[in-house]
Symmetry: C2
Subunit: 142 residues, 2 copies
DNA sequence: ATCACTTGCATAGCTTGCTATTCAATATTA
DNA sequence: TAATATTGAATAGCAAGCTATGCAAGTGAT
């Protein structure tokens, strides 16, 4: 059997993801955040004061990955945690001023990176690309 | 400004890549290899007895990433290294019997995973998806 | 021939993902 | 109520990516 990397969906998609990540990374670095914090911040900008479990439900991550990233975010003064009066096992997670202040800049960075990545495609092709990607995800999702 | 993850190319592509990786991971685990070793094995199955530098030129990885993965591959008896008579700084990298023996199974696994991932698309759509992806990569590549 | 530059690779240290395990708090059931 | 099960979160340990740095071997220029 033969195998051609350059025509393998797996390789192509991996390459895509790494280029995307690198591009966004560079754009958000000046804000003092890193890419793994991005999805978490997005959720918290929508609604904070939630428990880790509630946050987890809105994210596509394993619990341990989230816990570790939250620890780094606390270290980096992006979040604080307070006691949850109704359950001593859990805590409530809050954004700091600093994290709230960068929201718009971060949105802009993500928009810019997406626009840049798709800049070689027409609007129709962009829509097609996203739609096809969604269908591939659907096929693979357990 | 607003930001909708589910319509963000970056998030979608990241999700895609993780599902792909997980799927291939599961298929190759029985062969005793892991996903980071896969691209390297593909190149070595084509041609081994090469230096790290030659290998690096054929891969889309940083030198340090390759060096570390090669160390794990040696630990896992997938490769051996011999002296390079023409340059004492470098070594030649050779596949072991074990690594050679799994080649066809690994190709098959990758084929199967790609087919599975794209199974929700028609042949035309599959070609479209790959072509669009390539163009997105081209736009982002430095 | 020596001194400086370049090159090939390794190492250190970080992030972000994972699985497996642990532990304390809470809930359930006999 | 006591024993057991479940749940929320943390921790350990690994892989694979990155940047930055170090080091020894080779190359070149004076």
């Amino acid at each position: 059997m033969t195998f051609e990397k350059s025509q393998s969906a797996g390789f192509i998609v991996n390459h895509l993801a790494r280029l995307f990540a690198k591009g966004l990374q560079d754009r958000i670095a000046p804000l003092g955040i890193v890419i793994g914090q991005f999805p978490i911040l997005l959720e918290l900008w929508e609604k904070d004061g939630v428990t880790q479990k509630e946050l987890l439900e809105r994210l596509d991550l394993e619990q341990a990955t989230l816990a570790n990233t939250l620890t780094r975010m606390e270290r980096d003064t992006l979040i604080r945690r307070t006691k949850n009066p109704s359950d001593a096992r859990s805590q409530k997670i809050w954004l700091t001023e600093r994290a709230m202040a960068i929201k718009e800049h971060a949105y802009q960075a993500a928009h810019d990176q997406n626009a840049f990545a798709l800049s070689g495609l027409s609007s129709e092709e962009q829509a097609q690309f996203l739609a096809l990607s969604e269908r591939v995800i659907k096929a693979m999702r357990p």
